[in-house]
């Protein structure tokens, strides 16, 4: 599968992004560009995801742009 169709498959799916300051964002994958920037819709921010998981009270951010160089890892749920 080439990259293009893989990305297309991810569209509108729930994505978890870990950022360089250890925060975790969970939202709907809406778009990306050549700089690896990602835009998540209805995004939620978790401060201590590793310890508490999704049980922790998240902060609602709405639409959020995550700069590519701050992304440490991404997970997509099918």
């Amino acid at each position: 599968m080439d990259g293009k169709s893989k990305l297309r498959q991810w569209l509108n799916r729930k994505m978890k992004i870990e950022m360089s300051d250890k925060r975790v964002l969970i939202g709907i994958f809406l778009c990306t560009d050549c700089h690896r920037n990602v835009i998540l819709g209805s995004c939620l921010e978790y401060l201590k995801f590793e310890e508490c998981g999704e049980k922790e009270e998240p902060r609602s951010l709405g639409l959020a742009m995550v700069p590519g160089h701050h992304i440490v890892s991404i997970h997509v749920s099918y």
Partner: protein, 664 residues
């Protein structure tokens, strides 16, 4: 996927300006109440007096900053003590924290009920995770703080007593110079402690009294249906007494302002400069960062302690002033009171005092206002249907009902007028334009009512006219609003100088002259009605009537109105001359653009039937008419008339005893 609006409110992660979560994550950990106590950064007992004074003063700074329109989360609730007041072991600080929470609650209640705030005045509180201490009643909170207060007072008094007794024995003591030094240093420490106690006592007393006065006002405004039928009296006095005592404690507070602990500069985070750091113990500006919506001001600049106390001082005197509304119950007086209060500019009114005024005058809905309005119409023009006895209404239930319905309809725009004067100055203008639409419909109804009553009164035993009574009253209010609307443009600096000629022209030629004729009509109608009623009951007591005659209705307003008219006339002639001389430049050459501006400025007046809107062509004609041959001659002529106008205005103002208050 997402629209423009969503895209505009999107945030970029890891951008210090947008990402609120990033700020709390870096630098250092933000500790909440329990964590701070555990780490020993927050004392909950054995606080020194200096610490308590500092915390109290900074809490008031927060409170004042909140009242100036910032969010609760970024001001008052940066004080960690307020998150868990019941966990504080120190009695003084615990009772103070409770009082502050109660104050926040009651202020918020007043502002919501007053309903005259905009986003720039007051932040509607969204859900905060901290519950207000509802379990503690008002009286219990007051009792708690009073206990501490009395303890302080005891200390203060006992020191004063020992001081007095010391003073008596002083001469002997002065003789023994040897051990005097020792005693003196001991005295100094005692004296300092006394000052601290006094300072703390004044602050606690102020907080309690301020809260108590608001409780009194709240109780009465929720219980009574309307000011008109409330017996007013003692409870206003009670509130006023509390407030007066409040202002008495303020001077001690001001003198001891430097006593509280101050933040140490070293405790500021090093990475970036923020105006809200450093803080003293108990304050954490970032504590609520995560509860704020994503796009929110990153930090709030707090008022200084000095500014805060000045604000509180003015606030107290403003609330005392607002309570005077009970001496101004009749509608006309109340409306004047509202307008004057809104105008007072130094210091400007605040959201709390403005809301209080609304709540005090119109506590529960507007229904009984119709009686006040009926009374107002009666006083304004004495319509035979309301004034004469027996009147057309006496034997005519249908007519009575029609009149009742009319007053019922009037309550909406009239209460709206009061409400507009409660809003901040900048917001009033648009609302005045809106109320004109409502007044226009009332005007139509007033005309119909007049002609209906006229047909009835012509059929009476003594036929008389009933034309132009109710409509004159509505016209009066419409003109008031129109004048207020045009004048507010000057206050808000909306007009550019080249617009002045037609604004002044409109005021001078139309609004003020219509007002003059309306007041004149009211005056003569009243005289007519008085004459009729005198004829009718000639046999009855004569003394009463001769007394009544002495008061001339609308005299003062009429004089002032004509003075303002002359003033505007003077300005109009002057700016017209300026324009001809080329001193007032117009930024365009063709007249059509001026017409566009003209029509825009007077647009809200289009809905009104009387006075009819004046078209631009009429203004051009007036300008042409002023030109008499030579330009130089015209200019000289204009200046001469302006001079006359100003002179007449001066004379009229002086004759009416009107004094100018100039705010510098």
């Amino acid at each position: 996927m997402f629209g423009l609006f969503e895209a505009m409110s999107a945030i970029e992660m890891m951008d210090p300006k947008m990402d609120a979560g990033m700020v709390c994550n870096r630098d250092r950990k933000v500790l909440n109440f329990e964590q701070s106590v555990e780490e020993g950064k927050l004392k909950i007992k054995n606080l020194t007096s200096e610490e308590k004074i500092g915390i109290i003063d900074d809490t008031f700074s927060c409170l004042v900053t909140w009242l100036e329109g910032h969010s609760l989360a970024q001001t008052v609730f940066t004080n960690l003590y307020l998150h868990k007041p019941l966990a504080i072991e120190d009695k003084c600080l615990r009772s103070f924290s409770l009082i502050i929470l109660k104050l926040v609650e009651i202020i918020r209640d007043f502002v919501y009920r007053g309903n005259v705030f905009e986003e720039e005045d007051f932040q509607p509180a969204f859900l905060y995770p901290f519950a207000m201490p509802c379990t503690i009643t008002d009286s219990k909170a007051c009792g708690m703080i009073r206990d501490v207060e009395e303890e302080m007072q005891k200390k203060v008094k006992s020191y004063q007593r020992t001081l007095n007794s010391l003073n008596k024995s002083r001469p002997e003591e002065l003789m023994k110079t040897s051990d005097n030094n020792n005693k003196f240093s001991c005295d100094l420490a005692e004296q300092k402690e006394h000052q601290l106690n006094l300072a703390l006592f004044a602050r606690l007393k102020f907080s309690r009294l301020f809260y108590q006065s608001l409780i009194i006002l709240k109780k009465e405004t929720t219980a009574k249906i309307n000011v008109a039928n409330s017996t007013s009296g003692h409870w206003v006095e009670d509130a006023d007494k509390c407030l007066q005592q409040c202002s008495e404690t303020i001077s001690i507070w001001q003198q001891t302002l430097s006593m509280g602990i101050k933040p140490e500069p070293s405790s500021a985070p090093t990475s970036e400069y923020r105006a809200d750091y450093p803080t003293i113990m108990g304050f954490e500006p970032l504590i609520n960062q995560r509860f704020l919506p994503p796009t929110f001001p990153r930090y709030t600049k707090m008022k200084s302690r000095k500014e805060a106390i000045e604000y509180m001082e003015h606030l107290v005197s403003r609330i005392r002033h607002v309570c005077k509304i009970f001496d101004h119950i009749p509608f006309q007086m109340a409306l004047d009171f509202f307008t004057e209060f809104s105008k007072s500019s130094s210091p400007p009114s605040c959201v709390l005092s403005r809301s209080l005024l609304q709540v005090l005058y119109l506590p529960n809905g507007i229904a009984p206002l119709s009686d006040l309005i009926r009374e107002d119409v009666r006083n304004f023009i004495k319509p035979p249907s309301l004034y004469q006895k027996p009147s057309i209404l006496t034997n005519h239930p249908e007519a009575r009902e029609v009149v009742d319905i009319f007053f019922e309809r009037c309550t909406r725009p009239m209460s709206y007028l009061l409400q507009i004067n409660g809003h901040n100055r900048a917001r009033q203008r648009d609302k005045l334009a809106l109320v004109l639409e409502e007044l226009a419909t009332i005007q139509e109804e007033a005309d119909k009512l007049d002609s209906y009553l006229n047909t009835l009164s012509l059929k009476m035993d003594i036929p008389s006219s009933h034309l132009g009574y109710f409509s004159a009253w509505v016209l009066y209010h419409i003109l008031r609003v129109m004048i207020q609307y045009l004048l507010s443009g000057f206050e808000l600096e909306l007009y550019s100088t080249h617009e002045y000629p037609y604004i002044f022209w409109y005021l001078y030629e139309f609004l003020y002259s219509w007002m003059a004729s309306t007041l004149y009509r009211a005056k003569s109608f009243i005289a007519e009605q008085d004459a009729i009623s005198e004829l009718r009951n000639k046999s009855v007591n004569k003394k009463v009537k001769s007394k009544k005659r002495k008061q001339k209705p609308h005299e003062r307003e009429w004089t002032l109105n004509s003075a303002f008219q002359q003033l505007c006339g003077g300005y109009y002639k002057t700016v017209s001359a300026f324009r001809l001389e080329g001193k007032l430049k117009t930024p365009w050459s063709s007249a059509s653009k001026e017409q566009l501006r003209y029509e825009h400025r007077f647009m809200p007046f289009l809905v009104i039937a009387a006075p009819p809107p004046v078209p631009y062509s009429q203004y051009r004609e007036a300008v042409e008419r002023d030109k008499c041959g030579d330009v130089k001659e015209t200019i000289a002529e204009l200046y001469a008339t302006a001079c006359k106008c100003f002179h007449r205005a001066k004379e009229t103002f002086e004759s009416s005893g009107f004094c100018f208050k100039i705010d510098l």
